[in-house]
Every structure is written in structure tokens, then in C-alpha cells.
């Protein structure tokens, strides 16, 4: 009230209560002017977003675009002429006379990678579950130490971890040394698919343990005791109570293992010898020796599609699992 109004003791006419201001803009990005105390204006997120766009979405866009381009006659790079040759090459081959026939080779490559990735994921998750369970039942102090122990391999250089198995599986390595002692004689373990999978499992095991542990560490284990008190059988408890709670973590673990394993390069090349063609070294070679950029781009696009699909499925299942776990 203005001073004049107060002196005469009258009240001003009631102002209409304004409707809550919610334009589409402010609903999407929060209030358009007020900055929460202690925070910064939304615009400060732009540099990160821009560089993110530039160096992730940008490259992806380019690679998808390149997959529809043509290959120059000599050397690498692309010629800006639309063509679906690259995608055709995935499934078909042309012989000298121009006849087209179905080419299963590249599908085989996908199959090999898929198989190795699935195997890796299954074993990692199967091993991760008991250890995550075991960790989450320890006292808080010990849990911290265990998390530390699991995290250290996580941060160790991939090449170093792969190299370790090159050492171990080597002809002159400890395992063969032991085998020779036992009289069995040395085996060829390195430069096989077996070595590649071992390497993959070794690499991705922490990726499976940590999310599962994270999901289980919030779990109240008195629920388990309650279930036992009510007479539940051991396996039932495991299945219904514990597994349900761990599900979101299992989903995360599966996604975090499968996606990178599918596109892995280092382990197949170093441990697998590079002789077996997998997705990773296939793509790499297209941009190196083979100099078929569009084809490499097409392969990459397909990989991308598969992994994004996998991530989507995992997040949907994971979301559903978290809701079920909450019940």
C-alpha cells in the first residue's frame, strides 16, 4: 500500500492473481530468469554442450554420412557422391562378371564379435553377482576397502591389463612353465579366441561388479532374515528377494560389458592375434590398409545401431527392474 493509502486507511482494489507463468520455454529449461542461489546461469552449460556436440555427435553424423558416400579410385577418404555400395558390401559380393551373390563373411565377423561379447558378458555378470553380494554384506569399513580394490583395475590402462595376459599365456609364461613342470607340455594359449575372451572378461569384470554392488548396497538385508524367519527356502529367497533388488545393477552391468566388448579392438588384436576378424579390427583396417572409408563407415554405423539398441533395451529393462526392486 502506498503511503497515501495507509493514511486514509483504505485498501487498494484487489489485483487479480496472475496465473502461474509457465511458457513452454520455461517448462523445458526451468525458470527463465532466476538462478538458484549458489548456482550459475544455465548458459554456462553451453561450452560443454557445444564441445560434446562437436566431438561426439559431429563425428557420428559424419561417419553415418560417409557410409553413404563413394570410395575414391586411389587412396583413402571419400568422394562426395551418394552411393549405397558400402552397405551392399556388407551382404553381397560381386564377382568378376558383375554377378551378385550373398556374402556371409562379414556377417560371420559380426557373429564372432557378438558371440565373444555375449560370452564375456554372461561370464562377467555370473562372476560379478556373488562378489557384489559378498561385498554388500560386509561392514561399512571393509566395503570401502573392497570398492577400492575393485576400482583400481578399473582405472588401470587397458593395454597394461591386456599385456598382463600376454605375459601369462605366453609360451614361456607362468602357466606354460607350470604345465611343463607337470609334464603336460606347453600349450598354445596366446593368439587364440580363448585368450581374447579371457582378456575381455578380465577387462570388463569391474564394469559388472560396480553397478551390481551399487544396487545391492542399498538393500536392507534384514529383509532376507525376515524371509528366513517366515520359513522361506534358501533358493527362493535368493531368487525373489535378492535377485530382484540386484536387477537394476545387473542390467547396468550387462550394458556396460556388452557394448564395449562388442566393439573391442585391443583384446582381439593383441591376445587373439588379429588373425580372427572381429568387428573392431575390421573397421580399423578399413581406415588403414584397406582404405575403404565408406565401408568402414557403414560397418561403424551398423555397430552404432546395434549398441544403441542394446543400450535402449538395457535402460528400459533397467528402469522396469528398478521399479520392481522398489516394491
Amino acid at each position: 500500500m502506498s503511503a497515501a493509502d495507509r493514511k486514509t486507511g483504505t485498501r487498494r482494489e484487489p489485483a487479480d492473481v496472475p496465473a502461474a507463468k509457465t511458457s513452454a520455454w520455461s517448462r523445458w529449461f526451468g525458470s527463465s530468469h532466476a538462478v538458484k542461489p549458489g548456482m550459475l546461469n544455465r548458459l554456462y552449460s553451453l561450452p560443454s554442450i557445444i564441445i560434446g556436440l562437436l566431438f561426439t555427435l559431429g563425428p557420428i553424423g559424419v561417419i553415418i554420412a560417409f557410409s553413404f558416400m563413394s570410395r575414391p579410385d586411389m587412396g583413402g577418404g571419400v568422394v562426395f557422391r551418394f552411393s549405397t555400395d558400402a552397405y551392399e558390401k556388407l551382404l553381397f559380393r560381386h564377382d568378376f562378371f558383375g554377378n551378385r551373390s550373398f556374402d556371409a563373411r562379414y556377417l560371420q565377423v559380426f557373429g564372432t564379435s557378438l558371440w565373444q561379447a555375449l560370452l564375456t558378458t554372461v561370464i562377467c555378470v555370473a562372476l560379478a553377482f556373488p562378489i557384489a553380494l559378498w561385498m554388500s554384506m560386509k561392514s561399512a569399513k571393509i566395503q570401502q576397502i573392497l570398492v577400492l580394490l575393485v576400482t583400481i583395475p578399473f582405472w588401470t590402462n587397458l593395454l597394461v591389463r591386456t599385456y598382463a595376459w600376454m605375459l601369462i599365456l605366453n609360451e614361456n609364461g607362468p602357466i606354460n612353465w607350470a604345465l611343463r613342470l607337470l609334464g603336460i607340455g606347453s600349450q598354445q594359449m596366446l593368439y587364440t579366441s580363448f585368450a581374447s575372451v579371457i582378456g575381455l572378461i578380465y577387462t570388463f569384470l569391474p564394469f559388472a561388479i560396480l553397478p551390481m554392488y551399487s544396487a545391492l548396497s542399498g538393500f536392507d538385508f534384514r529383509l532376507v532374515e525376515a524371509a528366513y524367519d517366515l520359513g522361506a527356502h534358501k533358493l527362493t529367497v535368493m531368487r525373489r528377494v535378492i535377485f530382484r533388488a540386484a536387477m537394476p545393477g545387473v542390467m547396468s552391468g550387462i550394458a556396460l560389458c556388452f557394448i564395449p566388448a562388442f566393439g573391442s579392438y585391443v583384446q582381439p588384436v593383441l591376445l587373439g592375434g588379429g588373425r580372427v576378424l572381429m568387428v573392431g579390427n575390421l573397421i580399423a583396417s578399413q581406415f588403414a590398409e584397406a582404405r575403404n572409408w565408406p565401408f568402414g563407415a557403414a560397418l561403424s554405423t551398423v555397430i552404432l545401431a546395434v549398441t544403441l539398441l542394446g543400450a535402449l533395451v538395457a535402460s528400459v529393462l533397467g528402469g522396469r527392474a528398478s521399479r520392481k526392486a522398489g516394491e
Partner: protein, 326 residues
Amino acid sequence: MTMTVMHDDTDPNKVRYGNAGEFGALVARTQRERGGAQDVSGVRMPADLERKQPDRMWSTRRSGKQGNTLKRFPMVGFVSVAVLAFLYVPMVIVVFFSFNGGKQALLWQGFSLRWYGEVFTNGAIINATETSLLVAVIATVLSTALGVLYVLAVDHMSRAGSALASMLINASMLIPEIVLGVATMAFIRLIGLAPGFVPLVLAHTTFCIPFVVMPIRARLATIDHACFEAAEDLGASGPVTVFRVTLPLLVPGIVSGALMAFVVSMDDFMISNFLTTAGTTTLPIYIFSLIRKGVNPSVNVVASLLLLLAVVVTVTSTLLTNRKSK
């Protein structure tokens, strides 16, 4: 905090019990005193407490009777220890062989530091390390700065807006490295940049940002946002609040994020592989070229040193996040 005496007009819901054990003791004592009295005025106990045994401590530990539970699953402990061993034995073997005195990587010929000496005087390795360090430091500084700005800007976005933003930021984690590597190379070509130092740093910065954002976000969630309101209430304008209150409180998260960014940058192989030229070889790339041909005693040493780096960074980061949780 000591127990308070309950007056008859005290609402039990409002009294604070500092110690769960004391509460149980109080109930026990009260039950014994009141015996079977029909008088129900005064202390009112929650109904489910009546049924509990008076002298069992009300445990707040959620791990339950761990011994009991674990006994029912005996295999779990065994498998877990085996898995942990599986994770560490290979690294131990590498470190072991790094002290090998012999010329071959695997033939043990006595303890010696000769290969450490070798590595520290190897020009190629030193160059590669320097390059890696330079790239990592710059990428760390840039990604940390951008990450901090991002977290503070995004905190008060609506859910849709921040979901969009976080997708953009985390995109690099969803894409297989091989694809990101070749795609970045293609992208660089397209926009006319030659592969070299600058694109390398920029690419590193990009995939480091999500690793910086995570611990800072986590740290921010532990801070009472009323502190920021208090700062403004006391006269601090927006920027002043950020500098005097928000940032100091976020320091453990920022440092943790920076450490992670550093390690991630030092470790990167795939993406760097497609962006380097003869002049900008990073350490992982150099290592790869060495071990491509087989095991190598110098690599034993470099591997052990990188393992040490991982240990130092992880331990420091853990100590930081666990220490200042007040």
C-alpha cells in the same frame, strides 16, 4: 545427546533420541517399572515396540546378522575371493617380472632394476610420456573447468532440459571406442583440421567431461542447499556465492573429477590412435606398437608404473570423497 525425561505432555514423536540403544534401554526400564499397570497416561510407546523383547538392542545396521546369512550361501565367499585374486594376480605377475634381471621378458634371471633404468633413459618412451602428460594436463584443466560450469548451470534445469543436456555430455560413453575413434578422424578431415595436437586435446577434453561431472554432481548432492540461500541472505550476490561458498564446498568433488579425467586421458588408446601423427605419439600408442610384436621387458616396467598411477589416483580419490563428507 543424552536422553530426555519424558513429561506427560511430551509428544514422543518430537523428542529426539540420540542413541538407539538408549531408547531400547528406556523402554525396558519403563516396562519393568510400569509392570502391568492399567494406567496408560504418561509414556506412550509405539505399538510394535510392545511386542519386542526388552533387552535386545535395536540394531540399526542393515547388513543384518551377516554371519548367519552368509553361512547359508557358503560358496559366495569362496567365489568372491577367487574373483578378487583373478583381478590382481595378473598385475602382480607383471610387477614381478618388471624386476627381472634378464634380457628376456619372461625368463627370470634374478632381481634387478636394470629395466627401470632402461625405461627412464629411453628417449622414445620419454617423449611419448611427455606428450601424454601434456595432453592429459591440458585436457584435465579444460574438462574440469567446463565440467564445473556445466554442473552449476544444469542443477536447476527442469528434468527434460537436464536429461537432454546429460545425454549430450555422456554420449561419448555410449559409443564404442573404435567407432568414436574413426568417426573423430573422419570429422577432423571433413572440417579441414589436420590430425595433430589440437584435435587430440579437444577429443580428450570431450570424453573427459562426463568423468569430471559425475563426482562433482555427487558432491553437490551432499551439500545442504540452504547454505547457498544463507549466503545470499547475508549479502552475497550470485557470483560471490559461487566463489565463496559453492566452489569451496565442491573442492573434493572437483579434485576427484580432475584426477579421473587425468587418468582417463592418460589411458586412452583407441581415440588417440586415429588422431595422432608421427609427431604426437602418446604413451599408450607407443606401448601398443611395442607389444604388438610380443612381450617386452621395458613394457613390464611401463606397465608397472601405470599400475602405480592407477593405485595412487584411486586411493587419493577415495580418500577425498570419504573424508570431507560433513
